[in-house]
């Protein structure tokens, strides 16, 4: 019964931002945005975070703006 093991580990990803009913993501909200970047400062891909296309597009835009304003890093300190 290998199938049982499969179904136990399977869990559908869902967009946390949709779940929280987030309408718009602000580039000034760096605390929220840090959840969507890796420790290297990369933007977390959709396949990992499970965010929907609409919110992922908003995150991307917001992170890029926040980087310009040095609210978020382009890359983390130790890899520079």
């Amino acid at each position: 019964m290998a199938r049982e093991g499969e179904s136990r580990s399977f869990r559908r990803k869902f967009c946390k931002l949709c779940f929280d009913k987030v309408d718009r993501i602000d580039y000034k909200d760096d605390r929220r945005l840090t959840r969507f970047i890796t420790d290297r400062g990369k933007i977390v891909p959709r396949r990992i975070s499970g965010t929907c296309a609409r919110h992922q597009a908003q995150i991307t835009e917001a992170v890029k703006r926040a980087r310009i304003l040095a609210l978020l890093p382009f890359t983390s300190e130790q890899y520079r």
């Binding site: 869902f14 967009c15 949709c18 602000d26 000034k28 310009i68 304003l69 040095a70």
Partner: protein, 124 residues
């Protein structure tokens, strides 16, 4: 005229009076161009995520304003020339829908919506 949000990062070594002077100058140029300053936010001194011109901190000023589009290019030029500005960014302000959601008439709709989101959310 469009509504913009301009964030300016000033050199942390600048005194408060100098920053006020700079902010006044920006506000004046907006006024002269027929625009309007809606809000000035002072975020104060913040740590930068990475060093800019060897500075670790910066003094953030956030201005929301209505301006003619031509002024944005001129503002950009001035910030570039200004040595005390470490970084600046002007973006179009987003329309404020959250305010409309708080209207009492829409309260009933809002109450139904979260329940739908809970059932729809995990499927997406």
């Amino acid at each position: 005229m469009k509504t913009y949000e301009t964030t300016i990062i000033f050199d942390p070594g600048l005194e408060e009076a100098r920053i006020n002077e700079e902010v006044d100058r920006v506000s004046q140029s907006i006024g002269q161009a027929g625009g309007e300053v809606i809000e000035v936010q002072r975020w104060g001194k913040r740590k930068l995520a990475y060093n800019i011109r060897k500075r670790r901190d910066g003094t953030y000023i956030h201005i929301k304003h209505k301006s003619p589009p031509e002024l944005i290019a001129e503002m950009d030029r001035r910030f570039r020339l200004n040595e005390s500005v470490l970084r600046h960014l002007t973006v179009l302000a987003q329309k404020e829908t959250p305010v409309a959601a708080e209207e009492p008439g829409k309260g009933a709709e809002a109450a139904v919506a979260p329940a739908e989101a809970a059932s729809v959310g995990p499927k997406e």
